[in-house]
């Protein structure tokens, strides 16, 4: 069993940059930013680590919501923010290195916003 501790804190979009800046002030490392569908909305998790304790700041947004970039706080956040834009179609405003949709080139535009039905046979290896 892992000894990992992890907590998730739901926050508002307007708090995002300030809370992220506080995390950095507290000496946390940005582990990842990831997006997942939650019903009709999208949940974006900003994951931080300090001494192997994970803390997630979670915002819940609609696809047309414009979210602020945290790349001004954690410079390396641009890779995650460009990825979220390209895969989920969520606009992130003010990214320090903005690829404007060409960071991850996909055949299907914003592939994680559409559901692909099961068209192939299921694996026999169950």
């Amino acid at each position: 069993m892992t000894l990992d501790q992890q907590t998730t804190i739901p926050i508002g979009i307007d708090e995002l940059v300030a809370r992220t800046a506080q995390m950095k002030k507290d000496g946390c490392r940005l582990v990842q930013i990831g997006c997942a569908k939650g019903g009709d909305d999208f949940e974006i998790n900003y994951t931080f680590d300090k001494d192997f304790v994970l803390t997630n700041l979670r915002i819940t947004v609609k696809q047309d919501t414009v979210i602020p970039s945290v790349s001004g706080v954690y410079w390396g956040a641009f890779v995650y923010e460009n990825e979220i834009h390209d895969l989920f179609g969520i606009t992130v405003a003010g990214i320090n290195v903005d690829f404007k949709g060409v960071f991850i080139r996909t055949t299907v535009r914003h592939p994680f916003t559409v559901t692909i039905t099961k068209e192939d046979t299921s694996c026999q290896n169950k």
Binding site: T2, W75, G76
Partner: protein, 359 residues
């Protein structure tokens, strides 16, 4: 100020086994800015959770990478087990740890070979890969696969290793140790290697931490992050100390990997001594409902598998943050200010795995 020119580096380049493109902005021979482009081999594997039920999706998770494949399957399985509160048998935890360290050995030897090749040191490249064959042979004889092992499953592992075989594996590794010492001595002490690596691609401790560096890239800059310290699998019962170097240059990153070979052998030795008898898998019933961030230490650093499930056989989301993906911003910081001729060495020094990053 000199006139700036932009030189494209990749996606096809002799030192790049996989495609990444860097636009290098130069003033004379000095790099003043770097703009990365990825996405050449994006496969959308995470999207396959919609088509594959969670027990069979482990085959997809394992195929995220062709080098640290085993650890991907291990991390995915652990994420599901945490959500479903499955108690994995202790023997399986030890076996997982042994195979994880074999993966690290084969990955580091592969990288040492590629790094030597990148420096033009051909016989060093061949020596590293020759030694790697021994590791791959052991992986093949215990799992059935050299690259994709398919031995990890939700709830445990598919194959056991007999005590005789475990003893043989340890003997083989001990016999190999003097050859590994000879190999790593060249990387650590040879004048031409040191000349090529020392002071090249520097990354300070604070930059490494806040830019998100992980694995040997972070530990080479004095940041002692090693997720094995969280105690997943059987690591909580093993004594080991992460290898940390302070100088932050390409030499330090190389030294971390070279020294980690011996840490891995030591961990495998401890596992073989401590591994208990018992079952190798727990029964898995039902489907996961919940979410979890599973983390593991891959050869390139911390990997994160985020798993979200709603009680159905197909997951809602599986998102993988691979080490190379988070090592891209630190790489850009290393490249700024370097000479054009040093770019290939610096890019190789983070051990980039683009297929992994693209998923």
């Amino acid at each position: 100020m000199s006139k700036q020119i932009t030189v494209p580096f990749g996606p096809q380049h002799p030192v790049l086994p996989e495609p990444i493109h860097l636009d290098l902005v130069l003033e004379d021979e000095r790099v003043v800015d770097v703009i990365p482009s990825i996405g050449y081999v994006h496969r959308g594997l995470e999207k396959l959770v919609e088509k594959r039920e969670y027990p069979e999706y482990i085959y997809v998770a394992e195929r995220i990478c062709g080098i640290c494949s085993y650890i991907h399957s291990n991390t995915y399985a652990e994420g599901i087990e945490q959500i479903m509160k499955i108690e994995v048998p202790e023997r399986a935890q030890y076996l997982r740890t042994i195979w994880s360290e074999y993966s690290r050995l084969h990955s580091h030897l592969l990288w040492l070979g590629l790094f030597a090749d990148g420096m033009g040191f051909e016989n060093l490249f061949m020596t590293a890969w020759k030694l790697r064959e021994h590791i791959l042979d052991d992986m093949e004889s215990t799992t059935g696969g050299r690259v994709i092992q398919g031995v990890c499953k939700v709830g445990g592992v598919r194959k056991d290793i007999s005590p005789e075989k475990l003893d043989g594996m340890l003997r083989g590794l001990k016999d190999m140790e003097p050859q590994l010492r000879d190999l790593t001595n060249v990387f650590l002490n040879d004048a031409s290697v040191s000349h090529r690596l020392k002071g090249i691609g520097g990354l300070g401790k604070e930059d490494a931490y806040y830019l998100g560096a992980v694995g040997p890239t972070a530990r080479g800059s004095g940041v002692g992050i090693d997720i094995r310290q969280t105690g997943y699998a059987a690591y909580g019962k093993i004594n080991f100390k992460p290898v940390v170097e302070q100088s932050g240059d390409s030499y330090a990153r190389c030294a971390v990997r070279a020294k980690e070979l011996f840490t891995s052998i030591d961990i495998i030795g401890q596992c073989i001594k401590k591994i208990p008898e018992g079952p190798i898998e727990a029964k898995v019933v039902g489907a996961p409902n919940g979410e979890y961030f599973a983390r593991a230490e891959q050869p390139r650093g911390e990997v994160v598998h985020y798993i979200k499930a709603n009680g159905k056989r197909n997951l809602v989301r599986h998102r993988v943050r691979t080490p190379t993906f988070t090592n891209i911003p630190p790489l850009l910081a290393m490249l700024k200010g370097c000479e054009l001729a040093d770019v290939p060495i610096i890019v190789l020094s983070i051990d980039p795995c683009i297929g992994c990053s693209e998923r």
